[in-house]
């Protein structure tokens, strides 16, 4: 009897065990090596790598950019999702595909294209240059790149929720007397809340880890425009593997927390949907 339940339990865990075995060399061990390298010199050394001015700046800069990116994309993404989901116009499908493209385009290309538009030789750059405005290689440039790159994540989270939200809720609100804004504020927004939070966290997380586009547009200046991933890259190139891994470990932990929250909120909205 006891042996039977034991066997059952073991066989129940087999698929998970197999998954872990497959994922071990692909994902888990590389991740583990980040922490191993970060902590190789012991905790005090790990901490000492983190409290340098460069690291603190890079982390702060990354977090600020991530916050602002998440904030802007929450508004922008919600608006785009609303327009794409609730209005009808020719080319709507195509626009929706185009707006999701940054996911599929290598981020380096995104960075280059921004550079070619806003840089000194680009269309906007040539207009703005004489005015003394040069968004590339400044925080504004980094922000532009991050908004561009993470936009589809917000859109992709909000649009399906809006698509599923029956128009009769909105219509009911209208007949009851609610203005467009009130209908959004009291009816649509509460339904979107879970999606908004998930989308904002997803955007935040992607912005925090963004590298390809940032490296093109930031100029990678320490204490000016160096984000945490750029710092990590520079340190790796310079052979300071422990320093790089210490910061990488911090990013990994933050991302783990963020994605746990995303899963939690995504799960909660799903439960609500089902109860409905």
């Amino acid at each position: 009897m006891n042996k039977e339940t034991y066997r059952k339990r073991v066989s129940g865990m087999l698929p998970a065990g197999f998954l872990i075995l497959v994922m071990l060399p692909l994902l888990l061990l590389p991740l583990a090596s980040v922490f191993i390298y970060a902590l190789k010199g012991g905790l005090p050394k790990f901490a000492s790598y983190l409290v340098t001015r460069d690291v603190l700046f890079a982390l702060r800069f990354s977090v600020i950019i991530a916050f602002v990116t998440a904030g802007i994309n929450t508004v922008l993404g919600t608006y785009a999702a609303y327009v794409l989901s609730k209005t009808r116009f020719p080319g709507r499908e195509q626009l929706s595909i185009i707006l999701s493209l940054p996911v599929a385009i290598p981020n380096v290309v995104v960075g280059t294209s921004l550079l070619l538009l806003w840089g000194p030789i680009g269309l906007f750059g040539q207009i703005l240059g004489p005015l003394g405005i040069q968004p590339m290689f400044t925080a504004a440039g980094v922000l532009l790149a991050h908004i561009f790159v993470t936009f589809p994540y917000m859109l992709g989270t909000i649009k399906p929720v809006l698509d599923d939200l029956q128009t009769t809720y909105e219509e009911a609100a209208y007949t009851i007397g609610a203005s467009r804004w009130q209908a959004f504020r009291y009816i649509i927004f509460p339904a979107l809340k879970g999606g908004l939070l998930t989308g904002a966290l997803l955007t935040f997380a992607h912005s925090l880890g963004e590298f390809g586009a940032t490296v093109m547009v930031s100029g990678n200046l320490r204490l000016r425009t160096q984000t945490a991933p750029l710092y990590i890259f520079s340190q790796f190139e310079g052979g300071n593997i422990e320093a790089a891994n210490s910061v990488a470990a911090i990013l990994a932990v933050v991302s783990f927390i963020l994605f746990s929250l995303i899963l939690y909120f995504a799960g909660r909205t799903r439960i609500k949907e089902e109860r409905r």
Partner: protein
Amino acid sequence: MAMVIEQISKRYGELCVVDRASLDVSDGELVVLLGSSGSGKSTILRMIAGLAVPDEGRILLNGRDITRLPPQQRGMGFVFQNYSIFPHMTVAENIEFGLKIRNVPVSQRQARREYLLGLVDLYGMGPRYSSQLSGGQQQRVALARSLAYEPPVLLLDEPFGAIDAKTRIQLRQSLKKIVKEVGVTTMMVTHDQEEAFELADRVAIVNKGCIEQYGFPNDVYYSPSTQFTADFVGDINFFEGSVLDSSGECCEIELFEGIPVYRRGRYPFQQGQRVLYGVRPEQIRVSLLEPENYENGINGTIEKSMFLGDITRYSIRLADNRLLDVQVLNYLFIDGMVMPYELNEKVWLIWSQGSGIILADEAHPAFVSNL
């Protein structure tokens, strides 16, 4: 007139969904739009609510033209087929929503909410969410929510569509009671004729975007003005025929093989005009005896009988080789004394000269000559 709808039309591209529909509704009246799905009845309702704008025509509310007013300014009550109870609000918040939008003070809101919860028989359900309610309860919340701000007109779109058959019958009566108690002018849309007849003060038959007939339920049933109405409302057997004489107080019609039928009353038909003559199955009785001279009758052979519990349905082959269905109440058969009819038995189908419907035959309007 509380509300007048004048010749409104709505087209979606090439498709004409509503075609010059006109209706008038009196204060406190309950009008039912009856039609099959896709007939355009819901679109009429949506145009009244302001959720759709008519391409032509006008809608007047108490003499005021509201055709192009946005829904927010019409203040109509609208109960959606799926009820659309806001899922993140409690029942109480749902009901108070219209009052909150209108900045009604909290104390008044609460009083109104309690009154409405009582009215729809949902005492104590205020703190619940829609996910915790049955379909019937949701419907009543939707009703209370749309009555909260005292709308001039209450619009109900298939309010019983999502409710099981048994509950539906109970809810109909309570809906009618509530609406009449509040005294609100109401327009309801349904595809269920029984529901329509039970609730309606007046009923409008909607077909392909047109109002086929608008009147009291028994008028619509017994004096349908079109073949569609007659067919759509209840069962009916139609025969093609031509008028022999309609000059007097009685109209004489010749059916197939020269069988004459009579209909009392004055009819504006000319002699020889092609007409459709219809008689409802429940008006026909089956007999072994020939009809009296004040009755109409056709004979035929019983080809099929179907026992349905309280009634038996017979399919009877007539002389023109068509089948005609009649229903016989089973209480008429008495064990050992009056036996049910048997297959291949020759019987008479008999009905009163006071029943039957005569309509001009639109398919064969051509009048040839005196026979």
